[in-house]
């Protein structure tokens, strides 16, 4: 495929900056930039080479080469280690662009690895979860899923599902077996097995849903009327804690996201620019959006100010998440009833901010220690959808089974098999027959 490049390291001043390239025939592609490279590169070798622009050297680099298909992406893969000045890295990117190597889109390396069958979709999702994990514990869970597919909760369910299919196959295709092994092969047994599977699917779905945003971490929403000073508070908290404001847009277009990294995990701060009141209070659409944001966060800071001293009625005690009423700009005015407010702060003078931050970080710490990520939660919304669809077909199957129509029950299950085909990877028929013949001594 067409060659791509992406900086692996952030564009800040540092000793080494790394660029990663992937594509077909990469050694030919980069040869004009590194003329000293041999004409064929060897797999997993390190080359020292000077980048040359119009006859003059521009930087001394180390190049790591992985030959297709023995690389992460399955294509030729090159890592260029250059000197980590951001201007130098940008210049190298421009030179590579001149050679027809374009900037990769986010996630494109993993996508290629998936397309070239180097990793499964599940693995790609575990990798994504690993990279974005808001805590080390989360990282470990994702890594556990990534290293061995058997650790993934979807695989356990898939395994149980295939055994169930094997039971159906046996019951329908080997009626003589039913007479022999009545105790472990009958519609009754199938009924029990289906229910057990349905339950374990529901458990995984619920567990994942409870973890809400599986890899976004402890999230605090700053909300309030315009000009109440939300954004300045947002920036002040992040700056004082020397955090990098995430370059990625927030979960919705209306939200700005920033991250504070603590040893126990990330605190994600969201600035809601979107809660816009109209002339007659807050309009319906605004309420809807605010409610949606509120349902996804773990803590809300509502900023009051002299014009709007009280929060709107719909806000308080949403689903029992911590809700703090803040009085901002306390350096200018003080509220008439200070006891109504949880914190009196000033983004400008920093007054009251240390105690607020202390409180938030304690909440975050409790969040990470109490909701230890179970290895049985899923990696993505897509996986939840897959399981929901699977559960639907299993339920249909169960209701057919209850009315004694085993042939229809099997057909419903086979729809579930297609769901898993799409969501987890194709299931070859031979896999199911292997189970049939390993479970039972069949045939005369």
């Amino acid at each position: 495929m067409e060659p791509i490049v992406a900086p692996v390291t952030v564009l800040v001043s540092q000793p080494v900056g790394i660029l990663r390239l992937s594509g077909d025939n990469l050694s030919d592609r980069i040869k004009p930039l590194f003329p000293s490279l041999p004409s064929t590169l060897e797999h997993r070798r390190i080359y020292r080479a000077t980048a040359i622009e119009r006859g003059s050297p521009v930087d001394d680099c180390l190049l790591l080469f992985f030959k297709a298909p023995q690389s992460f992406t399955g294509e030729d893969l090159v890592e260029i280690q250059a000197h980590g000045n951001p201007h130098n890295i940008r210049h190298l990117l421009a030179l590579l662009h001149g050679l027809g190597i374009r900037l990769a889109r986010p996630g494109e390396f993993s996508l290629r690895a998936y397309q070239n069958r180097k990793i499964s979709l599940l693995k790609a999702e575990s990798l994504h979860r690993m990279i974005l994990a808001p805590s080390y514990a989360e990282f470990q869970v994702a890594h556990h899923h990534y290293t061995s597919s058997e650790n993934h909760p979807l695989y356990g369910i898939r395994d149980d599902f295939l055994n169930l299919l094997a039971l159906f196959f046996t019951l329908l295709d080997h009626p003589e077996e039913e007479e022999e092994a009545l105790s472990n092969l009958s519609p009754h047994v199938l009924q029990d097995r289906i229910q057990t599977l349905e339950r374990s699917i529901s458990e995984v779905i619920n567990r994942t849903a409870k973890a809400k945003k599986p890899f976004n971490g402890f999230t605090v929403l700053i909300a309030g009327h315009p000009n109440s000073g939300k954004s300045s508070l947002f920036n002040r908290i992040l700056k004082d804690n020397r955090a990098i404001v995430s370059p990625l847009p927030g979960t919705t277009r209306d939200l700005l996201e920033g991250r504070l990294s603590f040893p126990f995990g990330d605190l994600v701060l969201l600035d809601s620019a979107g809660l816009r009141p109209s002339e007659d209070g807050i309009e319906q659409e605004g309420i809807r959006r605010a409610r949606r944001s509120l349902s996804r966060v773990d803590c809300v800071l509502w900023i009051a100010c002299p014009d709007f001293p009280a929060p709107p009625d719909f806000l308080p005690s949403q689903k029992g998440i911590p809700f703090f009423l803040l009085w901002n700009k306390v350096d200018l005015t003080t509220p008439s009833d200070p006891s109504r407010y949880d914190h009196l702060v000033s983004a400008r003078t920093r007054r009251g901010l240390p105690s607020l931050c202390e409180r938030l970080s304690r909440l975050a710490e409790t969040y990470y220690s109490s909701s230890l990520p179970g290895s049985s939660s899923l990696d993505s919304d897509r996986q939840i959808k897959t399981l929901r669809r699977l559960r639907l077909s299993i339920r249909r199957s169960r209701s057919f089974l209850e009315s004694g129509r085993i042939d229809l029950a099997l057909s419903a299950l086979e729809e579930g098999r297609r769901v898993l085909d799409d969501g987890v990877g194709a299931i070859p028929a031979s896999d199911i027959y292997d189970r049939v013949f390993n479970l039972f001594c069949l045939g005369k």
Binding site: F169, L172, G404, L410, D421
Partner: protein
């Protein structure tokens, strides 16, 4: 040697087993001058394994063969001594008939049927060579030196290719107990025809003398009443001997059986490494069962009568290749068989087969344009699977000989299609047996509607004689009248047709209450097939819709030149090479995974979308 009419035919069929019978019978019905060559004329239609036809999946095949005007259903009906409908409590889609047959009567009926065909001739002789001219088979050569010419050839050599029989550690050349093997033909197929061959094995139990069996110590297994015959067209009224059905008997192995086998495993050709062929997992030998399922205390044995004139029984479930003295000990360890006398020892047979992905969907080899293969030579097991392939190969041999376009059964509408598609698409790594679980469209391809699915095609191909064609059209018009009556008659504000869709109503009930009496004076199978058609209609529609939605996309040829995201190099390469015109066609290519079909579908939709805007 001069070429006389005695040595020139349209279609040559080599082999007189279940595949050979159907192939020759089909070609002859289609008006082709057909010759069936076999090693022993008296053994045409021999049931070399158990004396039974049908079962789940297999019974479906027999019904389809019958709907195409084939032999197997009729032969089983005319030689049957017990009939049973299986899976009656599991839904109509998975029900099937199984029959116990009189082994010698089956042969007699097969011979009678073939002899009744005016354009069909028989010849005894061993085929030793194939004469190839210009990439086609010109003639076959028999052991006596005769050359016989045919426009198309069907090979159905069963287990006879390089057959080797094992009893204990002794091995002899042979195709079946007491019959010799064909030794030269394997190398002709590999060297002259360019086909690659593998090796398989199967086995049989020892046969027992009836008067030495204590039947009172076993559980009788009676047949069904009324008798569920296979034939869709004019089934017989009674069994061929006029008497009641014969029961089978159920018994089981004991701890002693296990001990005997465990003590003697070193004398088993299977476990001493003498047999290399791959055996069917669903027909394991008793030594396999004991070794692989040690936790299981007993294994059931069905003692099946071999026929009404002989006092011989087939203990189904103790197929073995252990030496005779061990076989005797095994038999005497089983309740009811303590004193049983062995008439013929059990044996295992190893034989060559041709990997069936070297065939196309008409069962024609890709290397020689007029050579067809059918039956166990293609790596299958079972009479029914063999017969089904024989039918498909025979039809296409006849079509080729008469210069007409070929015919392939469709996977979505028949088990025949499922089988052929599985074989030529995926090849085999163990003997292939039909199961209902192999058929995705199981809810539609049922035992009761085989005629609706296949007889119209048989009519077009000229496979149904006038009397059967007539009967099919009477059945068809009855169905239409009854359906019209059901949809125009109302009860409780609903049409009878709608009521019938619900599980609470049966057709018999509705006819009895609300329709003229003449609707009930037809063969019961006519009524039950319409009833199931109506009951399954909705589910079949759902499943058909899904297939259509999924399958029916044309593949624009340009798209194969583009980058196809997610599709591996190998798959892309194969697509470019084979250039399928539709997704369904791509799906049937070897090595194309369901996942890559989905990705291809997405690419096509994107491509169409882009071209439209």
């Amino acid at each position: 040697m001069g070429q006389t009419t005695a040595t020139i035919f349209d279609v040559l069929v080599v082999g007189g087993g279940h595949a050979g019978i159907e192939a020759a019978y089909a070609a002859a019905r289609m008006g082709q001058r057909t010759l069936l060559v076999t090693m022993h004329l008296d053994l045409i239609g021999q049931m070399s394994c158990n004396p039974s036809v049908g079962g789940i999946g297999k019974g479906h095949l027999v019904r389809e063969i019958d709907a195409m005007g084939g032999a197997m259903g009729e032969l089983a009906d005319r030689s049957g001594i017990q009939f049973k409908m299986l899976n009656t409590r599991k839904g109509a889609a998975v029900q099937a008939i199984r029959a116990q047959c009189d082994r010698s009567r089956y042969r007699v009926e097969a011979r009678k049927l073939l002899d009744s065909q005016p354009s069909l001739f028989l010849r005894q002789g061993e085929t030793v060579d194939l004469g190839i001219v210009n990439g086609q088979i010109d003639h076959i050569v028999l052991q006596d030196g005769s050359r016989i010419h045919g426009r198309s050839i069907v090979l159905t050599t069963g287990t006879f290719l390089n057959g080797r029989l094992h009893v204990g550690l002794d091995a002899t050349s042979g195709g079946r107990g007491g019959e010799r093997a064909t030794t030269g033909l394997s190398s002709v197929l590999s060297d002259k025809c360019g086909l690659s061959l593998g090796r398989m094995k199967t086995g049989t139990p020892p046969r027992l003398l009836g008067r030495s069996i204590a039947f009172e110590r076993m559980v009788p297994q009676p047949g069904d009443n009324p008798v569920p015959f296979f034939s869709l067209f004019s089934p017989p009224n009674t069994l061929f001997y006029g008497g009641p059905q014969k029961p089978c008997f159920l018994t089981s192995t004991t701890d002693r059986t296990r001990e005997v086998i465990e003590e003697n495993l070193d004398r088993s050709p299977l476990y001493s490494g003498k047999i290399h062929g791959i055996g069917p997992r669903y027909c394991p030998s008793i030594e396999d069962k004991i070794v692989k399922f040690p936790q299981r205390a007993t294994h059931h044995i069905f003692v099946e009568p071999e026929g009404i004139d002989v006092d011989e029984y087939y203990p189904n479930g103790i197929s073995t290749s252990l030496p005779l003295d061990v076989q005797e000990k095994i038999v005497s360890s089983i309740p009811g068989l303590e004193q049983a006398v062995i008439l013929r020892p059990g044996y295992a047979v190893e034989y060559d087969f041709v990997f069936p992905d070297q065939l196309d969907h008409t069962l024609r080899t890709k290397t020689l344009s007029n050579l067809f293969l059918a039956g166990q030579i293609n790596g299958t097991t079972g009479y029914e699977e063999a017969a089904g392939q024989g039918l498909v190969a025979g039809i296409n041999a006849a079509l080729l000989a008469s210069g007409r376009p070929s015919w392939a059964p469709d996977r979505q509408s028949s088990y025949l299609g499922v089988m052929v598609d599985d074989l030529v698409t995926h090849s085999v790594d163990e003997p292939y047996r039909m199961f209902t679980s192999r058929a995705e469209n199981r809810l539609y391809i049922r035992n009761d509607n085989a005629a609706d699915r296949l007889s119209p095609q048989a009519l077009l191909l000229g496979l149904l004689p006038p009397q059967k064609a007539e009967e099919y059209s009477r059945r068809d018009s009855f169905h239409r009248q009854l359906r019209a009556a059901l949809s125009s008659t109302r009860k409780e504000g609903k049409s009878l047709l709608d009521l019938l869709r619900s599980p609470d109503y049966s057709l018999a009930l509705l006819i009895g209450e609300a329709l003229p009496d003449h609707f009930s004076h037809v063969p019961p199978s006519w009524l039950s097939s319409l009833e199931q058609e109506v009951k399954y209609d909705g589910y079949v529609k759902i499943s058909n819709d899904r297939w259509n939605r999924m399958d029916d996309l044309p593949i624009p040829p340009e798209i194969l030149e583009l980058q196809l995201p997610g599709i591996s190099r190998e798959v892309h390469h194969r697509l470019k090479k084979e250039r399928p015109s539709r997704l369904s066609e791509a799906q049937s290519l070897r090595g194309i995974t369901p996942g890559s079909i989905d990705l291809l579908r997405i690419s096509i939709l994107k491509f169409q979308h882009k071209n439209r805007s």
